[in-house]
Each structure stands twice: as structure tokens, then as C-alpha cells.
Symmetry: D3
Amino acid sequence: MIYITRRERFNAAHRLFKPDFTDDQNLKLFGKCSNPNWHGHNYDLHVTIKGEVNPETGFLVNLSSLSSIIRKQVIDKLDHRNINLDVDFMQGKYASTEMLAISIWEQLEPEVKKLGALLHRIRVQESENNYVEFFG
Amino acid sequence: MIYITRRERFNAAHRLFKPDFTDDQNLKLFGKCSNPNWHGHNYDLHVTIKGEVNPETGFLVNLSSLSSIIRKQVIDKLDHRNINLDVDFMQGKYASTEMLAISIWEQLEPEVKKLGALLHRIRVQESENNYVEFFG
Amino acid sequence: MIYITRRERFNAAHRLFKPDFTDDQNLKLFGKCSNPNWHGHNYDLHVTIKGEVNPETGFLVNLSSLSSIIRKQVIDKLDHRNINLDVDFMQGKYASTEMLAISIWEQLEPEVKKLGALLHRIRVQESENNYVEFFG
Amino acid sequence: MIYITRRERFNAAHRLFKPDFTDDQNLKLFGKCSNPNWHGHNYDLHVTIKGEVNPETGFLVNLSSLSSIIRKQVIDKLDHRNINLDVDFMQGKYASTEMLAISIWEQLEPEVKKLGALLHRIRVQESENNYVEFFG
Amino acid sequence: MIYITRRERFNAAHRLFKPDFTDDQNLKLFGKCSNPNWHGHNYDLHVTIKGEVNPETGFLVNLSSLSSIIRKQVIDKLDHRNINLDVDFMQGKYASTEMLAISIWEQLEPEVKKLGALLHRIRVQESENNYVEFFG
Amino acid sequence: MIYITRRERFNAAHRLFKPDFTDDQNLKLFGKCSNPNWHGHNYDLHVTIKGEVNPETGFLVNLSSLSSIIRKQVIDKLDHRNINLDVDFMQGKYASTEMLAISIWEQLEPEVKKLGALLHRIRVQESENNYVEFFG
């Protein structure tokens, strides 16, 4: 069993808030992340897949196929977007790093299977000091 | 003459657009950076000052004083904010990295002088692939 | 189950040595790390916790609460200190990266539990070439 | 149980290709990585070992011993070399990151055991966007 | 006057050698960089241009135009190539980082002028420990 | 004229203090950097030299010669040492980053000249947030 990780990046705006809270209540719960006019990040996404090395090619999957899937399912929808407003697979969810990681897993898990590998881990890094990992 | 650089960081949302353009016109000129619902970045700010080493202390300026000035004049106004909507010193300007660098220079230049040093360079890094420098 | 990692940093002096060894014996066993006049590092600390996403907030724990705990229990005691001489929870122990990781685990494990999560991993990075991980 | 990771680096040329394929067939399967005149990378190698902390020394193994083993068994053979042509332990194999990770494991696993520890993970990073991990 | 830097990357093989030297003579002069079977690097290219901010757009040049020029004139010719054998603008030159920086300057200087800016600096980073800068 | 930068690293302990001050007075002036029991850093040293490319070799100087000089004149004296107590060229000086940069310049300037190049810049990075540059 071998594990391969591909990094992709996206830059997006977001806001943490409960829709039924006032701005003051949201400020108390989410701090400066609740700013009503949004803020944003350069997100690093690490997608780790696993499987057997193909003896005919020496690789697990073609990395450019993996990259294409990540771009189509995830990056094209998130990059230079507002996570709360613009992203179909984030509708009705908190735009937290935790929910991003879980939702990106759901976007990629069936597609990775079609490549002949298994999704192992989604890692979303929001800043140099914080990242979230989800293993399904 | 010695040069000291202090790095600070801020996370902000922004949008590149001309107010008298339609969304389509802005999209043509600014690309995906014109998304009407905003996007965002983790910005790295490098502030370089210059001057003589103080023989009584062995340093140019006290770095925590420099850091306080940067935080008060720049970071507290930009961090977790919308550059177009929330930042007093960016009103009526494009929220480009170029205009950020020039405007941050204006915010810091007189304050650095009060510390007994000269502002030498403002560097604003918007992503791992792009940064802007302004020398006054 | 979701995993969140918070990075904090501390700068400290230390020395590797056995108190009942001569300087020459320590030099032979620990190399240049045994310098009697100390040396030091910029340490990177990565604290990984795990648990369920809170459906009321979209996050596992409030990251600023986690950061506060790490600062109070660990960083304030280690930063700009001598690990051998100044740090209560390192008394009577080797000031190795291994012992740091284990001791930081002990400092944080009960506090993370009070936040409603579980400590998963302590990672202490001493240089760009070496790091230690402890999982309890 | 404690885990220690040592990073070493090597710069090497390689090519991905099937010897019984034409250049065009290889181009179709391996893309630009099949360039007949080779290309190359700065590889980062992370070697993670595990074991108990030695109560007599406060460390798992002497890191300079670990570094020596990695240099002798792996780096000296790969650094500033052509992976396909110059490296004894890569003969008859694809010069992929996957096969590198598996082959480096085989080079190091018995040597780490002699140090009194167990090899836990080999991680080979080919670029800032891709890395492979092998756990035996 | 404002300065903007764009980073691009390329992975390439090369060899340092004098064609009229024996392998032993080249080994003595260039060390392991003279390996006859080539070695390679992940190169980081930083292109810095300068000029006035366009008051109609808030930027110096459109960064995607700059990126396109760099890719067409430089990256497409170097990436996944052998610098000595495959690159038209390196023919008859040493494949050193110094000569790469000078040659990339020549490739880009007239094209940047067409964009309405001036080329200020080419920086080529061969490894985390070495880089070369050329200012024309 | 071409510029080449070589990075080397050293890990050292130090303390900022005036010998004729009490600990309290030093604490007031230098903050936590005055801890009487020392603290320490992983220092990054960037040495930039300049000159003409040698048409016989394609390089400015042999980088391994430059690295040897830096190691002999600077790194071997600073690495795993106490800057205040152990380093001959820092005696009687403040162990500040500013004084380090100036003193390292003095150590290297004549030696670089012997290599046939000119020293252009010393950059000493004390942490990811601070660095000092000296140009002679």
C-alpha cells in the first residue's frame, strides 16, 4: 500500500456566523471571523490517496488525472469565490475549515475510486498556524 | 546603516473592480479577481526600516515597538476585514496589492520616523507566487 | 472524527548532558549539543486534537481557546527560557526533543479534555531537519 | 513509543518510461516526465523511525547516527545522480516517486533495526505539490 | 515606482562541464555537478518588474499577462527538459545558475517592455541554499 | 555583474543585556530577550557576493569554496554555541542580530575578496518574523 498526496490551492472569502444570531452574538461566538463584510484566506488543500503501485506503470495513479479531478470537483468551485455564497457544496453549512474538509471529502471520494485508488485524507490549511484533517 | 525587516500577517477579503463598470466589464479587465461576492487572501507584510545601530543598546529600534506600530496602524485595520469596505485608508482606492503597498507606506512612514529610523521598503505578498514592493 | 492542528512557537536555550558525566564524556555521547555554555533553537510546536464537529458552531473547539491553553501551559513557560534551568515541567529530565514532546503532552492532555476534545499528537520540531512526534 | 523524523535532501535526474515503448507511447502514458533527455528534481526525503526513549540518554537514537546511515545507504547513491542510470538499488525499476519510496525503505529498514529502532515511514517529496509515503 | 515579483517554477536536468575536458578534469573543476549522466533540480524563478501604477486599473501590469510571457518565453522551454540539450537559448553556454539568470533576462527583457513595464531583476533559485540574481 | 547568495544555518544561545545594568533594568530595556539564563534561536545566514561570471567556468566563484569560507569563519564559531560567551568575534559586543550581521561582514569581507568576488550583503534571520541586513 502506497500513499500519494497532491497539494492544490484556492483563495476564498468566508464568514463564520449563525444566521439566526445578531452580529453581536456572532462576534461573541466566532470572534473576528464573524466580520459581516467577510474576510479571506489562501487555503492549501492536501489530498492523500492510497492503493497499490501499478506494475505496468510504476505509479499508483496518474498525478495529472488526480489533479484534474481535484480542480474540477473542488478548486474551480472555491478559488476566488465566497465560500458562503458561491459554492454549491457548502450551501446550508458553516464555512469553517472543519466543514470544508468534510465537504471536500464528499466531493472527491467517489471520483478517486473511479481512478482505481482510495481517498485516505483531506487536509485543509487555513493559515500557517492552523489546519484540519479528515479521514472519512 | 543597518536594515531590519519585521513580518506581520493579515487575512482579508477584497475585490478588484471599477465602480462604473458592469460585472462583465470588470470580469474582462480583472479576471476572477473581480468576483462580486469577494474572495480573500492570507497577506504577508514585510516592513523594512533603516538607520544606525544605537551604541547604548546594540539595536536600531526596539522590535516590539516597531511591531506595535505596525499592528496599530495597519494590521488591526486590515486583519479579518474587507479591504474595499472596512479599511479607512483604502477608501476610494483600488484594493490591489500595489495600492495596498503604497497606502501602508503612507500609514507607517511618519510613525517609523518617530521611532528614530527611516522606512525603507514595504513588501506585500498576496500569495506564494506574487508580491509587490514599494520604496517611497 | 475530525483532527485540528494548532502551531505555536518558542525560542529557548538548552543543553544535552548527564549530570554525573564530565564535559568530555558528555561531548562524546551528545556531541556539540552538550556545549556547557548552552545553545538554542526556534522550536515549532504542533498540537493536534480530535473530536466531533459541534453542530451548533461548525467547529470542533474554539481555536482561540486552544491557543490560550497552549500558551498558558507550554509557551509562556518555554519561550525565551533555558529549558534545563527555567522550566518547571522539565526539571530532572533530559532537555531532548523527545522528552519535550512527552512532557508537553502531559501538560496539555487534561486541559484539552476540559475543552471537550482529545489530544491526539504532539509534534516538536527543533530544526528544519528534525522533529519528534508523541501520540500518548 | 516515540517517533523521530530526519529530513535529508538529494538532487537527481530521472525519466519515466517503459523500455519497450516508443517515445511517443511513453509521452502518451507519462507526459512530459518521459522526456528522453531526462529532467530532474530537488527531492526531500523524510525518514521516520519509532521506538522507546532510552532512559540513559533521553533520546531514541543518536540523530547523527541516523543521519549517517541515511547518507551512506541512500543520499550518497542518489545525490547528483541519474536515478535510472546511476543508482544500484533502482536498476530494473521505474524511477517513479512511488518506487523510490519503496526502494529507500528496503535500503534503510535493516539498518535502522541495528540502531535499536524501527523504521516507520519513508516520505519522498518530489515537488512542493507532490509527495509519496510508504509504511512498509 | 512600484516593483512586482512573479514566481514560476521549472524542473530540469543539467550538467556542469567543459566540452574539451575529460570527465576527471570536469569532476575536479565542477565536483559532483559534472556527473556525465546528469542530475537535476526544482528551480524557482522570481521575475521582478517595475513601473508606475496605472491609475485606470490600480495595477502595474496584468499579472496573468506577465505570467503568460514568462511561461511562453522561459518555462515551456525549460520545464521537464535537459538544460544542456533541449533549450534553444542555452545552446553553447554553461548550464550554470549564473548563465541561466542572464539568459532568462535576455528572453524576458524585450517582452516585459511590450507590457509597459521594465524588467528589474531575475532571480533563479537552484536549491534552498543557493540563488543567483541578475539586474541587467 | 551577478549576485550569488549562499544560505548557511547555525543554532545558538544568547542574551541581550547591558553588563552594568541590574536584571530588572535589563528586563525593562530588552524584555524577555534579557533572560539571565539565556534563550536561543535557529539562525539563517544569507551571504550575498557579487562579481563577473568567469567565462572559463560559467560561474562567479565555486560555491563549495564559498561555503567552506563561511563555515570556517562563521558557522564553526557560532553553531551550537553561546554567542555572548563562546564566540571570539562577538566579545565585548551586544549579541543582537544587528551586531551579528555587522560582525559576520567583518569576518567574511576579506575572505570573499581572496575568492575573486566582493561581499555585497549579510542577512541574518533570527526568526520567521525578523531579519537584519548589512551592506558594509
